[in-house]
Symmetry: C2
Subunit: 250 residues, 2 copies
Amino acid sequence: MGKAAAMHGQRTPCQQCPLRSLPHFREFGREELSFISSFKKGEMLVDAGATVFLEGSHSAHLFTILSGWGFRYKTLEDGRRQILNYVMPGDLIGLQGSIMGEMQHSTEALSPVSLCVFERTDLMTLYNSHPSLAFDLTWIAAREERILDEHLLSIGRRSALERAAYLIAYLHQRASALHLFNGSKVIPITQQHVADTLGLSVVHTNKTLKKLAERGLIVWQERGCAVRDAKALADVAGWDGLDSGKRPFI
Amino acid sequence: MGKAAAMHGQRTPCQQCPLRSLPHFREFGREELSFISSFKKGEMLVDAGATVFLEGSHSAHLFTILSGWGFRYKTLEDGRRQILNYVMPGDLIGLQGSIMGEMQHSTEALSPVSLCVFERTDLMTLYNSHPSLAFDLTWIAAREERILDEHLLSIGRRSALERAAYLIAYLHQRASALHLFNGSKVIPITQQHVADTLGLSVVHTNKTLKKLAERGLIVWQERGCAVRDAKALADVAGWDGLDSGKRPFI
DNA sequence: CGTGTGGTTGAACAATGTCAAGCTCTGTGG
DNA sequence: CCACAGAGCTTGACATTGTTCAACCACACG
């Protein structure tokens, strides 16, 4: 478990944020952007495997992912782990803790991750001065809730094969919308991550993924999963896909 | 599946809302209360078994539960149902749909339910004029997210017995905080509801609940579940319990 | 060269699902 | 008052799904 974390002053001003130009995100006004730019206190880099938030901590910060992949998880006392969701560029992390106090889940980097750093004490200023951004924060929380609803349906009621298909289709769709598949085209997770997301053992996960591979829907390769037929995956899972509309991000 | 729904003009003004006096909720300023009172457009009553929201709909309203029990759920095409969470007095429902458009889950009443009616078009006014209430809305969404995180951990990684214990401890703790156990002391759900919440079959749920009953932790009775030892239930599940602090409600 | 991490496999076993039947209420209509 | 129907709970036998254990393999990295 790597731990390296480097803090830097602000590098990219928000006005030139590479994520802003993606069609996936809603456009922001000049004033909103300049406020967000002042809200941002710097950037942070963490290694793959590093822990960004630890369950039980009280972080003074919250972050937006600039680049890289990570995941949120909880564990039981005896070590059983459940991955709750994955985080990708544009995702705000630590909002739950900032608003309610203590962090009740951990967050770990799957790849090297760079993050924009915000301070939780500035949140109230945002609510006071920028209602549209305040609305966006609620939007972001509601979106996460909606995704968790679908995950719950998946783990509770879908078979192992359906679950695996759903998970990979979901990750693929999100990453595609962010144009994340230019270089590697590979989702950077291990089968252990898949198992801990689906609530299955690694062994059974392996056998399940193999079935998807035999049908030509995915290929498992060095450090990750490559999608061959996203549509068929969604079909296997009986999943409609994510909203296609634009979404806000801070 | 009952469908009766009656709309009324406002009966109880928010200043005299019986829920406000519970120690469970944060106190509101006079100004906040008067705004909320204007935000409220009336009250609605629905029968047990009635559907409040249907997946796929675009409701013009959102509601706060005044009294009664209900639950949110999603279904797969072939009818498999997953209950996502339960709703009780003080809970705001329909926020997800109001903010993001279409409803992606359904909500059904478990008992007769009375609701305060709000209009989604008024939401923006709230954000513009009352930052503290805007913050509360994000708080409410973050709280739901946190609860879903715990449910996901439960379904994904706890055994059937642990899951059942967690669910009942959770419902009991929430209802206790709301002083809901004056009359019946019974959680008004069927074993089918428990099964659909835990992601188990009814048969296995029945056998699992029987084990909890044999240990003296619960008693299953006419139309519901009575808790005998809440502490022991939480212990079986290895669950810490909910936050004890005050929370906002609209 | 070792060593470690992640993937693969088969066999034995445990957990959970399915099927089918019966039971106990409660409410309803004759 | 009785007969009946439906909903929800209970139970046992059996099928299926998923877990655990125990290897072994392949590759990357120091």
